[in-house]
């Protein structure tokens, strides 16, 4: 019985640690891909003044499974502008489709009130400024994630060792 208890407790500890690491990795991957997409968005708006439906279509077709639902939902909202403004749809899509921290989502909301409303160059500038904020945050979080991974691994190993000692 002691052996089974030990096994289950260790498995639970490892699972929790693994889930936390996986969630963080997903957030970081999303943020990294989003930064790449925003860079392209800024270029297309600034250099070619692409209409938003065309732009979202291009971004969606090149996006991975992490970002595709986000762009797909924006494409749908652009087809039903009678129902909701684009800025409201943008906010909704950020909330529902992106796996990001609350602070990053707040940074992204800002874009919704600029996209499609100002000159291509002005939109491009705002997209780039939002991108650099996200990128800064991403770099900071990547460092802290690596630290956190190390601490989590050490704590998990320590906890399992303690359990082993206590049960022997």
């Amino acid at each position: 019985m002691k052996g089974i208890g030990l096994l289950l407790t260790s498995a639970a500890l490892l699972l929790t640690a693994f889930q936390s690491v996986a969630r963080q990795k997903k957030q970081l991957d999303t943020q990294r891909e989003l930064c790449t997409a925003l860079e392209r968005m800024a270029a297309e708006l600034g250099e070619h003044s692409l209409p938003l439906p065309e732009l979202m279509d291009e971004l969606s077709s090149d996006a991975s499974t992490l970002l595709r639902p986000f762009f797909a939902s924006l494409i749908l909202s652009l087809q039903s502008l009678d129902e909701q403004s684009f800025s409201a749809s943008w906010r909704q899509a950020v909330d529902r489709q992106l796996s990001l921290s609350a602070a990053d989502k707040t940074t992204l909301y800002r874009l919704g009130s600029y996209l499609g409303r100002y000159s291509g160059q002005m939109q491009s500038d705002v997209v780039l400024s939002v991108r650099s904020e996200l990128l800064r945050e991403l770099q900071r979080r990547e460092v802290s994630a690596s630290d956190k991974r190390r601490v989590t691994a050490a704590l998990s190993a320590a906890a399992i060792s303690m359990l082993l000692i206590l049960n022997l």
Binding site: S49, S85, R117, Y118
Partner: protein, 287 residues
């Protein structure tokens, strides 16, 4: 979709029910920030009861008109209007100037949505009388909002369907209201349309490339347009155009139009006058 429905759907949704029944008769909608939405019918403006128009309403209308891509309409907007499936939206507000040239708007205070109409047969009688001995270069006159563009569109269609090779300089995209390559209005079987090009350049291109028998253009309003008229007439090509004036006397009072008349380019005028809810079309010959 009917044109009036297109225009109606550009307005905020809260007005749709109130306006839907009378929408087919409406010529224009006016949205002014802080004022009630109003509409123009038979040349008169009527305010609508209900919530006042806000700047957010104006932005939503522009967003719907451009598919949330105002930046793609920037060149037209810098000239104070944009055209969506035949609906012309006039803009007012604080303009943005860069290097001495208008680039767009910082903010919007008013929009005027002109609803295009197709009225078949309105010019039949006048055309029969005027053109009894063949086509005459014709200037269509009316005050703003009098229906010049509608009359021009109808004359183009009639002449073209009778076999005349007709080219249209559609600078603002309002005459044909094309979506892609397909005109939204029937402009006849023998009509070629050059849109989004200033009239003077368009006239030269059409003369060089399309071998027209008649060239049609809307709204002669500036000196450059006179050059286009001169070129067309100089090449022996027929001309159909419109101008803002209530009558021939009114036309002669304006310096630009005096110059136009001095060119001797037009032999006839079609004058549109509004009497209550009715429009009257009368043909006159220039002496």
């Amino acid at each position: 979709m009917e044109r009036y429905e297109t225009a109606l759907q550009l307005l905020p949704g809260r007005y749709w029910t109130q306006l839907r029944e009378i929408a087919p008769e409406i010529e224009e909608y006016r949205m002014r920030v802080g004022k009630p939405l109003s509409f123009v019918r038979s040349g008169r403006e009527y305010p609508l009861s209900g919530e006042l128009v806000s700047e957010a309403d104006l932005l939503r209308t522009l967003e719907k008109a451009t598919g949330a891509s105002l930046h793609t309409a920037a060149p037209a907007m810098a000239r104070g209007y944009l055209c969506v499936r035949g609906v012309r939206i006039g803009l007012c507000g604080e303009m943005q100037w860069v290097d001495g040239a208008p680039k767009g708007f910082h903010s919007y205070s008013s929009l005027a949505l002109r609803v295009p109409h197709e009225c078949r047969g309105i010019c039949d009688e006048t055309m029969r009388t005027l053109y009894a001995n063949g086509f005459l270069n014709t200037l269509i006159l009316s005050p703003p909002g009098g229906g010049k563009t509608t009359a021009l569109r109808e004359m183009i269609r009639c002449l073209s369907d009778r076999g005349t090779r007709l080219c249209v300089c559609d600078e603002r995209g309002e005459l044909a209201a094309s979506e892609g390559a397909i005109p939204g209005f029937d402009l006849g079987r023998h009509t070629d349309i050059l849109s989004a090009c200033p009239k003077a350049e368009a006239a030269m291109m059409l003369l060089r490339g399309m071998n027209p028998q008649i060239i049609a253009m809307d709204e002669i309003t500036q000196r450059e347009d006179l050059l286009a008229v001169q070129e067309i007439v100089g090449c022996g090509v027929g001309l159909l155009a419109t101008a803002h004036a209530a009558s021939i006397d009114d036309l002669q009072r304006r310096p630009l139009y005096r110059k136009l008349l001095a060119l001797g380019a037009f032999q006839a005028a079609l004058v549109i006058s509004i009497h209550g809810d009715r429009r009257e079309y009368s043909g006159r010959l220039f002496s």
